[in-house]
């Protein structure tokens, strides 16, 4: 077996030395870069924007940006989202909000429309009012007005509303009238076909209504009352 030549040893030593020098150069360069720091507001370490090196250019070409932020591996807090900067209330300008990174998207599923949001329907409200609180018996005979009832209905799903009008005379006899309205109505002698509507008996009268909308929601109004009186004549002894 031939013994290697001395020149070969020299050559190998030179190559080894070159290799060591290259390694040392890379280590020193990496350390110098890490000591330059960075500018993540979540960390207390200094920071800086890195650019210019081949590696950085490669990363930036992948991201399609001109700068990128280098986060050293020995800064655990730097992997957390940066805390939002304190708001300055005196400044009216809109400040950029921090948006946390989006969660990894789940496997796409068939689109399911969200369930319809229930819209609250206002309660049905029926109110009835008598125009006159006192009437004269058989008013039309003496040129006085008969009763006029004014009703208002609101709420529900809206008109038209079906109204059942109840009229109670002083003897307790009840008569009903049906009508349809879009929210407000006027019911008087002409509508009832009685020129003395609500004035045919002396005493206390009352009226109320039951209103319902197209889906069946109903409401009963409070009772409106009036009194019918008369001024009897008599001979004086």
């Amino acid at each position: 077996m031939n013994k290697p030549k001395r020149s070969s040893y020299y050559l190998m030593s030179v190559m080894a030395a070159l290799l060591m020098a290259m390694l040392l150069t890379n280590v020193v360069s990496a350390r110098r870069s890490s000591n330059n720091g960075w500018n993540n507001p979540a960390c207390s370490e200094p920071s800086s924007k890195l650019s210019g090196s081949a590696y950085e250019e490669y990363i930036m070409s992948i991201r399609g940006t001109t700068t990128y932020e280098y986060i050293p591996a020995n800064c655990p807090s730097c992997n957390q989202p940066a805390a939002p900067a304190p708001q300055n209330n005196d400044d009216d300008e809109e400040e950029e909000e921090y948006h946390p990174p989006a969660a990894p998207s789940a496997p796409s599923a068939p689109y399911v429309p969200p369930p319809p949001t229930p819209t609250p329907i206002p309660a049905l409200n029926a109110a009835l009012d008598a125009e006159y609180s006192s009437l004269v018996l058989f008013a039309s005979q003496v040129g006085e007005p008969a009763q006029n009832l004014n009703g208002t209905i609101s709420g529900g799903i809206g008109g038209p509303y079906t109204v059942t009008l109840h009229l109670s005379d002083p003897l307790g006899n009840e008569s009903t009238y049906s009508l349809t309205t879009n929210g407000a109505f006027h019911f008087g002698a002409t509508d009832a076909g009685d020129p003395n509507f609500g004035a045919t008996l002396e005493g206390n009268w009352s009226a109320w209504m039951v209103a319902s909308d197209s889906v069946g929601t109903s409401d009963t109004s409070t009772s409106a009352g009036w009194q019918v009186g008369w001024y009897p004549l008599h001979e004086t002894p």
Binding site: Y132, S133, S134, L135, V136, A139, V142, G143, E144, P145, Q227, G229, W230, Y231, P232, L233, H234, E235, T236, P237
Partner: protein, 180 residues
Amino acid sequence: MGLKTKRSESGQVVVLGVILAMLFIGLAGALIDVYVLLEARHWAYQAAQQATLVGVSKGRSWSGVTADRGCLEPMTLNATAAGSEAENLLHQEMTLRGITDYAYDVRVLPDATGGSIPGFPPQSVRLGDGRGSWSLSEPSVGLYLSFPVQTFFLAFFGRPQVHMDVFAASSIHQPANVCP
């Protein structure tokens, strides 16, 4: 003697018959006068009463009674209308009766609480309190009527006619639920 007695008795019967006839005639005449006067008084009172009823009925002031105060407004009278209506009906009644010579006085208490009219009616024709001073607590119409009535029997005693004086009044009753 016998003839003289018969003639005497016959004469007494004739005289007695004449006296009785005159008494009956006088009694009948008095009854006629009493009936005429009573009937005239009754009729006059009815006429006056109807006139006052029409007066208060057609004189009622309806405007505002349905004012929305939660109660009926007190009724009042339109004094002019009430008096005119009463007079009109009285004239019609007197015309139907054939009486042209008559006097009357119509007074109206228009307020809801009535009132008082001193010296009315002019004659004391009313019974009870307030004679000569008409006072009522309700709106009212009062009518005094005076007219002559021809007599039959009293004419023989110098009173061919008697003046009939009547008074009637009508009022409006305020309902219990009237506004104060």
